[in-house]
Each structure stands twice: as C-alpha cells, then as structure tokens.
C-alpha cells in the first residue's frame, strides 16, 4: 500500500482539508502492495493559488485561460486580485474567463466594495470584446456600491497634510465610458446601461433617450420606455412615444399604454396617445387603451365599448392583459356592468366566477334572485362557491319558488345553501320545504338543515333531532347534538335520555363531554 503523509505545512494552514488522509508511517516495504493506489493528494489553497498565479504569467494562452477559469472557484481576496490581472490580458478569452470568475466570487459572497477594485472592473465596460462588456454592464448594481463610495483623500500641500472629501461620483474617465456604453453597438450592453444608469447617477439626456427610443432592439425599447418619465415633456421624447404607439410588437404597444397611463395624470398630452391607440388594429391594445381612457373619467364611444366586450369574450382566460382590462371595466359604469353580465357565460371558469362576483357586487344583484339563481347551475364548483360567497349574508327573504329551485339543484353545495336560506324564509315556506332537505342524499345538506331547524325551532324540531341522533352518519349525529345543545330547555333531556340508552356510541362520548362541560349531571 502507498502511504501518503500530509505535509506539515498542510496541517498548520487553515485550509487543511480532509482531502488526503493522514496515514500511519510504517516500515513495510511499499513494493509489497503496489496493486492498490490512492488518488494523488490534493494541494492546499495557497499552493493552488500560487500555481494559478504562475500560470497567469505564462506566455501560453491556454495556461492563462485555465488559471482564470480555476480562480473563480476560490472566492478570496488573493483570488480576486489575481483575476484583476487577467482582465488586462491581451487574449479576449482570458479576459472573458476572468470576468466570469470574478462574478463567481461575487456570487459566493466575496465582498468587493473597494473603490479601486470596482473601478478597475467597471473600466472594462469599454473592453473591445462584447462578451466582457456585457458581463461588466450586467454587474453594475453590484459594482455601484464600491464605485459610488464617497471618502476622504489625504494629500500633502506645501508640506502640510490636507484631508479632502472625495464625492460619491463616478470617476471622470469612467463616466465617459459609461456615457459611450449607453449607445454601445451591442444591444445587451445598451439595455444594461440604460437599466442601471441610476446606480451610477448617470444622467440620461433627452437626446440620448430619443435615440434609445428609436432602438431596433425590443429589450432596449422596453427599458427606454420606462425612462420616459425622466423627460415626459420633451418634444422629441413625446414624438418617439407617439411613434412607438404603432410599433409592430404588441409588447411595445402594451408598454406604451402603460407609460401613457402613468404619465396621463400629470401630462394630459399622453392621454392623446391613448385616444389614438383606441383604434389600434390589435383588439387587446385598443381595449386596454380604452379602459385607461375611461379611468380618466372620459366617456367611451359605443363602438369602443363593443370592442372591449368582444376582446374579453374571445379571450381564453383571466390572466395578464385580460385581467387589467377586466378589472378596469368598473370605470365604464353601466356599460361595464353589462359586459360583466355577458362575461358570466364565458368558457373560462375563473373569468366566469370573477364576472359573477363583480356583476353581483356592482349591481347589488343579490336582491334579485332571478339574476343569480341561474348562476348556481354552473358546473364549475369554483364558480358556484364564488357566487355563494358573494350571496351569503346578503340575501333578502326568499319565497318558496326560489327555495324550491335551490333544493332541486343537482349540486349539493347549492342545496346546502338552500337549507341555509331557510333562515330568512317565512315559516310556512320552511315547513313546506324542509322535509325534502332532510332526506337529501348528501350529508352536508342534511346536517345544514338540522342546524337551521334547531335555530328556527320549527315545529317538531326536537323529534327530528332525537331521531337524527340515531343516524348512521356521524356528521348528522353531530349536527343533531349541536342543535339540541343550543336549545337547552328541551335538548338536555333528550340528550340525557339518549345517553341512558346508548352509552357506548361515538356520539354518546361527545354528548357526555359536552354535558360535563355544561355541568349537567349525567345519568
């Protein structure tokens, strides 16, 4: 067996990892066990960094590239400073590898707040290689902490030590590089610079913004549109926004709607952009613009309202753009209510349920059973439960035909709701209908009915509850027990009687506990 002895320096350094097992020394000749070999011992961190440093000085491109790649795995100050050397390499591949490795250091938590260090990295935003420029421009939010650091500078003037404050500004040469990068030939660099300009306190002048608003790249345009708020009243910028309102990409036009909506409150010019967009070829853009105009309090022409309705009716679900238009309908007043009503028959379950909720809320539709009764025949349980939530606690007194419609429903949740509705019905209606509910096939319906009957103290309720204590379903027994407990005067005697005859059932145990809690002497 080959034995490996950890070198002494390895034991003393903090990077003494368990890479190479320390094995006992022996006098046994090595050649006796040559068939088994252990992996070669790994070097320690210092040695690995030494080797990488030497390779970075090599004249061979491959060596320097390998070192730059490997150094990314050692996030420490020495590794970081070695990678800075790689940033100045003549070979673009080494510079790329160095910047990628530096990012790896950032990601691994290596602090890089030193101003000189971050300035060195940021200076590569002017690198001739596009991949390096992309990486550096994407790093701006991280670099800015160091780059924009204020401090104190110590200088000697006429032999005297003078301290001067250093403002938190970008160094002059770097500022120029950053300004140039705003109109870099690569769209990713332009986009990053524009996105992060505020991290560098880099002003965007109207002329520059105008150029970027004419960019060919969609990503740059989207970011540039975000910056319109910096110069909303500039003529060039406004003209560019107007032009973008008819851009071929839907995403850009949607962004213009969003920008015009935000600026429209304080800069009425932008409402004009929205008005023009109401005639957009894409029905979704036209509908979005129209809803935004309505939010400003303007009355919409009938044909525009029809467009909105058509768009929503043909949309496949309630998400994204559809959602914002949908919720904006309430600003259309009566027209909006009418559209909500027509959307209650939309194929999308989510859209139907939201449409019902909005429609019932805005028109107080719960007062008119003819409005909501058909909704409860929706096959989607989510739609029905959304409607039931809206109706619950708001219904007026229901007549027998309405109660009958509810209890004849094919859906148990609706029949249970019918049982609940008995609470606000005339006694005669209750007496005419409760029996059908008591023989319902669904436990929830029967249990709800029992609770309602106990609450109303309908004639004969005690006997019904007494019988229900013998039901096969525990949920029914429980409802019967609860009903008897809330009417103590009659209920306690019935419960005690049940206990005396059925002491070992599951509900008997529950009754016993409840009666004990009420300090009722048990039989």
């Amino acid at each position: 067996m080959k034995y490996v002895i950890r070198p002494l320096w390895g034991l003393l350094t903090p990077f003494c990892f368990a890479e190479s097992p320390v094995l006992p020394l022996t006098n046994e000749p090595a050649e006796q066990n040559q068939s088994i070999s252990l992996p070669p011992p790994r070097s320690n961190l210092e040695k690995t960094l030494d080797e990488a440093e030497n390779k970075l000085k090599s004249s061979l491109d491959g060596d320097r590239l390998a070192a730059a790649k490997l150094l990314g795995k050692y996030p420490n100050a020495r590794g970081t400073y070695l990678l800075l050397v790689g940033l100045d390499d003549d070979n673009a591949l080494v510079r790329r590898a160095s910047i990628v490795s530096l990012i790896e250091h950032f990601d691994s938590g290596q602090p890089m707040y030193d101003r000189a260090l971050t300035e060195k990295i940021f200076s590569k935003v002017g690198d001739p290689d596009v991949e390096v420029r992309r990486e550096v421009s994407a790093m701006i939010p991280r670099l800015s902490i160091g780059l924009m650091r204020s401090g104190v500078e110590r200088t000697v003037v006429n032999g005297r030590m003078v301290f001067r404050s250093v403002p938190a500004n970008l160094r002059e040469d770097l500022f120029k590089l950053a300004v140039d990068a705003l109109i870099d030939v690569d769209s990713i660099v332009r986009q990053n610079m524009l996105k992060y300009h505020s991290n560098l306190r880099l002003p965007i002048f109207p002329e520059t913004l105008g150029v970027l608003l004419s960019d060919k790249d969609i990503g740059v345009l989207l970011v540039a549109l975000d910056k319109v708020r910096l110069h909303p009243q500039d003529d060039t910028v406004f003209e560019k926004v107007e032009l973008l309102a008819s851009h071929r990409e839907l995403g850009i036009r949607t962004k213009v709607v969003s920008v015009a909506r935000e600026l429209g409150y304080s800069h009425p010019l932008y409402r004009g952009v929205l008005r023009k967009m109401m005639t957009d070829d894409a029905i979704e853009i036209a509908a979005q613009a129209a809803v935004e105009i309505a939010r400003f309090g303007e009355k919409l022409p009938d044909e525009v309202v029809a467009k909105i309705e058509a768009f929503l009716l043909q949309s496949p679900g309630l998400s994204g753009k559809v959602e914002s238009i949908f919720y904006g309908l309430s600003s259309l007043g009566e027209d909006g209510n009418r559209i909500y009503k027509s959307l209650t028959s939309h194929p999308s379950g989510k859209l139907r349920s939201q449409a019902w909720q909005r429609y019932l809320s805005l028109t107080e539709g719960w007062n008119t059973p003819q409005v909501w009764l058909p909704a409860l025949s929706d096959r989607d349980v989510d739609v029905r439960s959304a409607i039931l939530i809206t109706l619950r606690g708001r219904l007026p007194e229901l007549g027998e035909p309405e109660i009958r419609t509810l209890i004849d429903s094919r859906y148990a949740d609706v029949r249970a709701f019918g049982a609940e509705s008995l609470l606000s019905a005339q006694p005669v209606v209750v007496e005419n209908t409760f029996f059908d509910l008591l023989i319902d096939e669904d436990n929830l319906v029967r249990a709800t009915t029992l609770r309602v009957l106990a609450k109303l103290r309908t004639q004969g309720w005690e006997k019904i509850h007494q019988q229900s204590l013998h039901d096969q379903e525990y949920a029914i027994q429980r409802a019967a027990m609860d009903g008897l407990l809330i009417n103590r005067q009659e209920g306690i005697a019935i419960l005690k009687d049940y206990l005396s005859k059925n002491s070992s059932t599951k509900i008997a145990q529950a009754i016993r506990i409840e009666l004990q809690r009420m300090r009722v002497p048990l039989p």
Binding site: G251, P316, G320, P347, G349, D380
Partner: protein, 331 residues
C-alpha cells in the same frame, strides 16, 4: 420548423382528447383546461406566472386554444380529474410525496384511461438538496418520484426518452435562432463557450433529459428537470424571472489541474444519459465546482447570467413546454 398538419390537428384538438374525458357545459369544447395539483393551495407556489404564461404562449404561437387559467386540484381523488386530459405537477411545490392508496388508484386509472401526467421537477439531482433555484439534467427520476410510482405502477420503471423522440419535434424543432429571439442577425445570442456547450451537450437539437412511463404503449407520464422557471412572461412579453446557465468548460491540462487543486467538500454521483456516472464536486455554500466524467475527463462548471442567457433559456423552455403539452394532447 412548424408543421401545418400539426396546426390543423391542434385546431381540432377537442377531438384529440380521449373520449373518456367529458366535455363541460360552459363551452370548454373550444378551450382545453390543464389541471395542476397544488396540495397546499396558495401556500407553496413556485413560479406562479409559469403555467398561465406557457398556455398563453401556446395559444399565441401554436394557435391552439387552452384555457389560460389552470384548474387547481388539491387531491388526485378530485372528481374533476377525469374531465381533463392533462395533469401538471410541479414536484417542487409538493410538501411531500405522500399519496393515499385512493389517490394512487385514481392516478393509475386516470393514466390508463388516456390521461397524461407531466411531473415538472420530477428529475432533480441529489446534490441540489433543498435548493429550488437550480436544475440539473440528470437522466433518472428523483428518488421520491421513483418511490411514489413504485406504488402506482410497480412493474413500470421510468425510462429515459431518446434524443430522437418525437416529443422534441411536436411543434418546435431545434434550438432558438436569432429570429426566434428577436435579435438582429449579427447579434451574438450567447457567449461562444456557452453556445457551443448548449448546442452540443446541454440541449442538442432542442432536446433535454426526460424520463417517462408508458401505459398501454402510450407515453402517459413524463418527468423533467424543472422547466416552469422558463415559462413566465410579464404583460409586455418580457421573460421572468432571470435564468442563469451552468455549463462545463475545459482548458489546457485541466485533467491534471482539477485532480490536484485544493478542494474541501463532498462529491456526488449523478447518472448521465449513457447510464454512467458523473462525479460532481461541491463545496459547502458554493455552487458545484467541477466534474469528473466517466471518460476520465475533468471539466469545470462555469456560471453565466445576463439578459441574453436568460432570454435564450426562457425561449428554450417555452418551446420545450409547448412540445410537451402538445404531444400530450395529440397522443
């Protein structure tokens, strides 16, 4: 790239849905609803924009009509399971893989009746642990999924899908081009080393590591590394959230350098496409460092992020997602 016959088939996709799945009353005949299992309701959601965005993406590009609102179910015994042909589960959203006997029976019946189950994040390399922000294209299902399915189909193991499987060409074929990415022709879509790795190893011809189970000769259950992270789009069409790439790079003498370089962590074995094992070197608190491949070659993991990387990855995942869902509908 896009096949007219497929589009025609998709336009009439309501006929492609197995007869076992009833159509609903409110006009869903014209829109297909995808179900998503969410055990904890809204408590454990990964990538909430993902599936609705993908459904919108497919509606926009494949001219198929999906309902953009997934139908969320909390249990596999939900009666609505049998009304919809495709069930999607993001395995990272599940609090655990405990399914009752009734649920497993229902799932088995569902798959036997023609349903399709897509297990996103059904592949996950063990070294990722609880880190949900990474994917790793191993070529076997994650252990929890394997254990679960041993109760559903004890006799059917997950089998890796070949790179030439038709699922990779159902609608989109190959990797995104500059045109797909809306980039100018001369624009670099990815850093060179990344593009080479992606085209040759990571996603050759737009393929990925998928494993599946066949039921009655039909691919009925599919598991993939997490793809949902690549589907989300905001209202302006921009992809969300940002995605980074992990790629393997080599350099001169790396076989020697990485063998000897300082390392204090753990190693993990991960199954490759050829069934052999990669040995991944991971240091605590850091992303995987490098890999020893069964050929004896050592390569380093490098991490790339940025707009171009993210856009490319999203485009790929959206195209793959489209292929998977449309394959599920057509088969």
């Amino acid at each position: 790239m896009r096949f007219v016959p497929y589009i025609l088939a998709l336009l009439s996709c309501s006929w492609a849905v197995p007869n076992s799945f009833a159509q609903s009353e409110q006009g869903e005949k014209s829109s297909i609803r995808i179900m998503q299992l969410r055990r904890d309701g809204n408590l454990r959601i990964r990538y909430p924009d993902a599936l609705p965005s993908l459904l919108a993406f497919m509606n926009e590009h494949a001219r198929v009509k999906f309902d953009q609102d997934p139908l969320f179910i909390q249990s596999l015994t939900d009666e609505r399971l049998y009304e919809n042909p495709i069930l999607y589960i993001n395995c990272d959203e599940l609090p655990n893989f405990d399914f009752s006997v009734e649920e497993n029976d229902a799932l088995r019946q569902y798959l036997e009746l023609g349903g399709f189950l897509y297990l996103d994040a059904g592949i996950k390399a063990s070294f990722l642990g609880a880190d949900l922000g990474h994917s790793y294209a191993a070529w076997e299902e994650r252990p929890e999924v394997g254990e679960w399915f041993s109760q559903v189909f004890p006799e059917k193991p997950f089998i890796p899908l070949a790179r030439n499987h038709e699922i990779f060409r159902t609608f989109y074929k190959g990797l995104p081009t500059n045109e797909d990415l809306q980039l100018e022709k001369e624009q670099k879509r990815l850093p060179e080393t990344v593009l080479t790795f992606v085209e040759q190893e990571k996603w050759p011809q737009g393929t990925y590591s998928l494993v599946g189970i066949k039921v009655s000769g039909r691919l009925a259950c599919l598991a993939s590394p997490i793809c949902a992270m690549g589907w989300g789009r905001d209202e302006f069409g921009s992809w969300i959230p940002p995605i980074s790439f992990r790629i393997r790079e080599s350099a001169d003498n790396f076989d020697e350098t990485l063998k000897l370089a300082s390392f204090a962590g753990n190693t993990f074995e991960v199954t490759r496409e050829d069934g052999l094992q990669d040995e991944i070197f991971v240091m605590p608190g850091q992303r995987p460092l490098w890999v020893r491949e069964p050929t004896g070659r050592w390569r380093i993991f490098k991490y790339y992020s940025g707009e171009e990387i993210s856009n490319y990855a999203h485009s790929f995942y959206a195209r793959l997602g489209t292929n998977i869902f449309l394959y599920a509908l057509l088969n």
